[in-house]
Amino acid sequence: MGGILPLSTYFTITQGETDQFSKYVSSGTDNLNVDLNWGYRQNSLSLTIIAPDATLGPYYDADDGVKDGRIRLSITKSGGIAPGTWNSWIYGQQMQGVEDYTFIWS
C-alpha cells in the first residue's frame, strides 16, 4: 500500500494483528539500530521492544521525529545493551487493509 520498500524480507499485518520477532544480542554490544518501515504514513503501526532487562516502547511513527510511515531508532546503554534474546512486538494500530512492512536491525 504505497511507499518504497527496501530490498529486504517483508511481512504483512492488518489492524489489531500483532507480529513477534526476536534477535539474539551478544554481550559487548554497544547499540542496536532498528528500522520498522511500512512506508504509508496514513496507517499506524507500533513497535515495542522487549529487552532482557526492560521494555522499550511502544513507539509510533512520529517518535523518531518524522511521520513518514517508518520508525528508526537507535538503542544504546552505557556499559552496553543487555545480552540475550530481544523480542519485538509489532502491532497494527490503525490500518486500512493489509500493510506490508520490513523490520531490520543493524
Binding site: T55, Y59, G65, A82, N87, S106
Partner: protein, 308 residues
C-alpha cells in the same frame, strides 16, 4: 518481619519513582532510545527473525498480551515482574549474619545447641508451630550453615554446625536420644562386661529387646559383644566412654567405673524398683547441656519411653 515492611515499601516507592521519572527522560533500564535518521547507509542490516507467540519468553508473552489490551498495562506488568524479583531477593536477604533475627528460628537454634542430636519430632514437641514452618526454619538454618542434619537409619537429628561434633560423637548423641540406650550406656559404664541377662534385669525389659538394642549399638561401634563361655558380655567402646563423660560432668565415667568396681557385687544383687521396673541404685542420668533437659530426663525413668 514487620520491621522490614517499611523498607520494602520504600524500595517499591523508589522503583516506582525511578520508573516514572525515567520514562520522561529516557527509556527504562537505563536505555537511551533516540531517532536514528542519519544512520550509515553502508552499515550492514539484517532481518529480525519472525517467531510465533509460543516461542516468546513468558515475560514477553505477558507484556505482549498487556500491549494488546492497552500499552498502559506494560508498566504495571513490568512492576509486578520486578516485585516478584524483589520478593525473591527478600527471601534471599536472610544471611548468616541475620539468620537468627527471627525469634522462632533463634529459639530453634538454641534448642538444637542445647540438645545436640535433637530429632525433628522432639523439636516439634517444643515448638507449637506448623510442621511446614518448622521445616522452613530448619532449612534456612541449614542453608546458612548454622546447623547440620544427620540421617541415621531414617532418623534425622540436628546439630550445631561448629565442627565440635565428630561423626562418632554425633552417633553417640543420636543414640542418647533413646531412653533405653541411655540406660544401657549407664549400666555398661558402671558394669563393664555386663551380660544380656543382667542388662535386661536392670532395665526390666526382655532379653530380646536388649539384643535388638545392643545389635544396633554394636553396628554403630559404641558397644562390643564378646562371648565368654555360654554368656555374651557387653563392653562400652573406650572412645564412647570418653565422649559419654562429657555428658556426665557431675559424675565422670572414670570415677563411676572405679566406684562401680567397688560396688559391683552389691549392685548386682541389690536393685530397686522405679515405676515397676528394676533400676540400678546407682542410676545416673546423663547430663545434657541444659537444666531444662535434665529436669525433663529425670522424669523419664521408664525404660520403655523411647524417643526414637
Amino acid at each position: 518481619m514487620a520491621g522490614k515492611r517499611p523498607l520494602t515499601l520504600t524500595i517499591i516507592f523508589i522503583i516506582l519513582t525511578m520508573y516514572l521519572i525515567g520514562s520522561a527522560t529516557a527509556a527504562p533500564g537505563g536505555y537511551i532510545v533516540k531517532p536514528a535518521l542519519d544512520t550509515d547507509p553502508d552499515r550492514e542490516t539484517h532481518d529480525f527473525t519472525p517467531i510465533t507467540f509460543w516461542e516468546l519468553t513468558p515475560r514477553a508473552m505477558l507484556i505482549g498480551i498487556a500491549l494488546c489490551i492497552s500499552p498502559a498495562l506494560i508498566f504495571p506488568i513490568e512492576l509486578l515482574l520486578a516485585l516478584k524479583i524483589w520478593i525473591y531477593l527478600g527471601c534471599r536477604r536472610i544471611a548468616k549474619k541475620n539468620v537468627l533475627d527471627n525469634t522462632i528460628r533463634s529459639k530453634m537454634f538454641d534448642e538444637i545447641c542445647n540438645n545436640p542430636g535433637i530429632t525433628f519430632s522432639a523439636l516439634a514437641r517444643e515448638f507449637t508451630i506448623g510442621k511446614g514452618t518448622k521445616q522452613y526454619h530448619l532449612k534456612v538454618l541449614q542453608r546458612e550453615q548454622k546447623i547440620i542434619s544427620v540421617n541415621k537409619n531414617g532418623n534425622i537429628s540436628y546439630f550445631e554446625n561448629n565442627a565440635r561434633y565428630e561423626e562418632f560423637q554425633q552417633t553417640i548423641l543420636m543414640e542418647l536420644r533413646s531412653d533405653t540406650v541411655r540406660q544401657i550406656f549407664e549400666i555398661l559404664t558402671l558394669h563393664s562386661n555386663a551380660s544380656r541377662k543382667e542388662v535386661a534385669e536392670y532395665l526390666g525389659i526382655s532379653g530380646s529387646a536388649v539384643t535388638w538394642q545392643i545389635k544396633r549399638l554394636c553396628a554403630d561401634g559404641t558397644v562390643s559383644a564378646t562371648k565368654y563361655g555360654k554368656y555374651v558380655r557387653y563392653l562400652l567402646n573406650p572412645e564412647a566412654k570418653k565422649i559419654l563423660r562429657d555428658y556426665q560432668p557431675d559424675r565422670p565415667v572414670a570415677d563411676a567405673t572405679r566406684q562401680a568396681d567397688k560396688e559391683s557385687s552389691e549392685v548386682r544383687s541389690a536393685v530397686f524398683v522405679t515405676s515397676g521396673k528394676p533400676v540400678s541404685p546407682d542410676y545416673v542420668m546423663p547430663n545434657h547441656s541444659t537444666q531444662k533437659t535434665q529436669k525433663k530426663q529425670s522424669k523419664q525413668i521408664s525404660p520403655h519411653s523411647q524417643q526414637h
